[in-house]
Symmetry: C2
Subunit: 263 residues, 2 copies
């Protein structure tokens, strides 16, 4: 299927459900918010919901389902989270055991699904504002780093904040603060600007996840809280069963990026 | 004790703990955010946390404790929620059974406490902006109304949105939207302006809670989501045991009102 036909969130989800789209969702359904997915058993759901509530910058919740309900009723009321993501990852005791295109056979009546905002939304806003997004220009993945900033723990969940970095001139960085402040539901304003070592990053050329990008003369790193944080925090706990989307293969919602803007 | 001595959140809490302050907290600790308190058993906590997550305008969470922990570690790390509110209300099966100044004897190891933002913060901002707040001018309680707008339900919790109303000229209403949009953690922007019947309010002169205030010629009602909503929603479920603050007797945090502003 050509991605030119996938112009709405519902188009992408239908193609995933039919099995005709099984690849990353970057560039699909322009203007619709895409999301990270985490599916956990009910016994961990209170602690994880509390973790997200306490750490809204890395874990901006767009929707949380009732136990057993595969429908994210706020952000895509006709979707089915068991079938509507291009590719999933199934983790048992912290080990990746399957990468299916459908998780119906794994579904449990006590599963709670967390739909978590994704940086695609604020990157679209940066681009509309004429600001450079280096990794998109270069066609690589955004560089991500573990920091020495501890998330606020909640129940069994704890761990360091993971950030993504985009290089900019100082004046563009100021504008980027303004632009992304409008999107608290998708990581919001940066958490740091400038010296990487101030947040525990020892080598800016060697990200912990994703790809390195060059910082040009006169530019500084601008650091945003990253949606890899909740996944890293969950994996550290090694739950008996947890399901996530595969990297880049996001859940596409019915929510317009602009609906997530405030002010 | 004179309220002139109670200039910080910690002063108010210490006076509550000693039993020297047992009255409403309006006007105390200027500049510090005050909060609604709801204490529930763990078995209801996931559903209620989900309710708040889905209804952030009426239920803006400032802090949620671990089960059994009486310390709100985000907003007042040296506080004790069992003693630091001037007066509490204890509800059994939906019936008010006690109004103590200390809830230590009721405390359970499975209690989860919800600290919920309060309109005092945005009213202070309205006043700083030179906007009229009629019920404060008149020295009465804010008028509150049940609407025909359903909250998003979560587990056992469901019910109508309750709003508070402040009359303003249309141009002041525009400014009030701007000012309160900066405070999403304390109800944020209005949910309605103008015709009360459009949101199911049949008689603007007869509020469901609080006191009526006059709407002058040329003014319109400006309606904000109200912290009475979560209490009404909980009471409808009639939990075997729930504890709240007494009306007006808020929990005073260490958080500055301005820390809750965005943008």
């Amino acid at each position: 299927m050509s991605n030119h036909q996938l112009t709405a969130g519902s188009d992408v989800r239908a193609a995933c459900r039919l099995g005709t789209w099984t690849k990353p969702t970057c560039g699909l359904a322009d203007g619709y918010a895409q999301a990270n997915l985490v599916v956990l058993p009910r016994e961990l759901a209170f602690d994880f919901l509390l973790f997200c509530q306490r750490n809204p910058k890395p874990c901006p919740l767009l929707d949380v389902t009732e136990p057993g309900d595969p429908v994210p009723r706020l952000v895509a009321p006709d979707a089915d989270l068991r079938t509507d993501v291009p590719q999933y990852r199934v983790w048992r005791d912290g080990v990746l055991v399957d990468e299916p295109n459908d998780i119906s056979k794994y579904w449990q009546e006590d599963f709670v699904s967390f739909v978590i905002g994704c940086s695609f939304t604020f990157e679209a806003a940066l681009i509309r504002a004429g600001l450079p997004v280096r990794h998109i220009e270069l066609g690589v993945n955004v560089p991500m780093f573990r920091t020495n900033i501890a998330c606020r723990s909640a129940g069994v969940f704890h761990g360091p904040l993971v950030v993504s970095m985009r290089p900019m001139t100082p004046s563009d960085a100021v504008r980027a603060v303004q632009v992304t402040s409008r999107y608290p539901a998708v990581h919001g304003a940066p958490i740091h600007i400038g010296d990487p070592s101030a947040i525990g990053i020892t080598n800016i050329e060697r990200p912990d996840f994703g790809d390195p990008v060059p910082i040009k003369t006169g530019e500084i790193g601008v650091f945003w809280a990253c949606g890899v944080t909740p996944q890293a925090v969950i994996m550290a706990v090694k739950p008996s069963l947890v399901i996530t989307h595969s990297p880049g293969c996001m859940f596409v919602t019915d929510v317009r990026d602009e609906e997530l803007a405030v002010g």
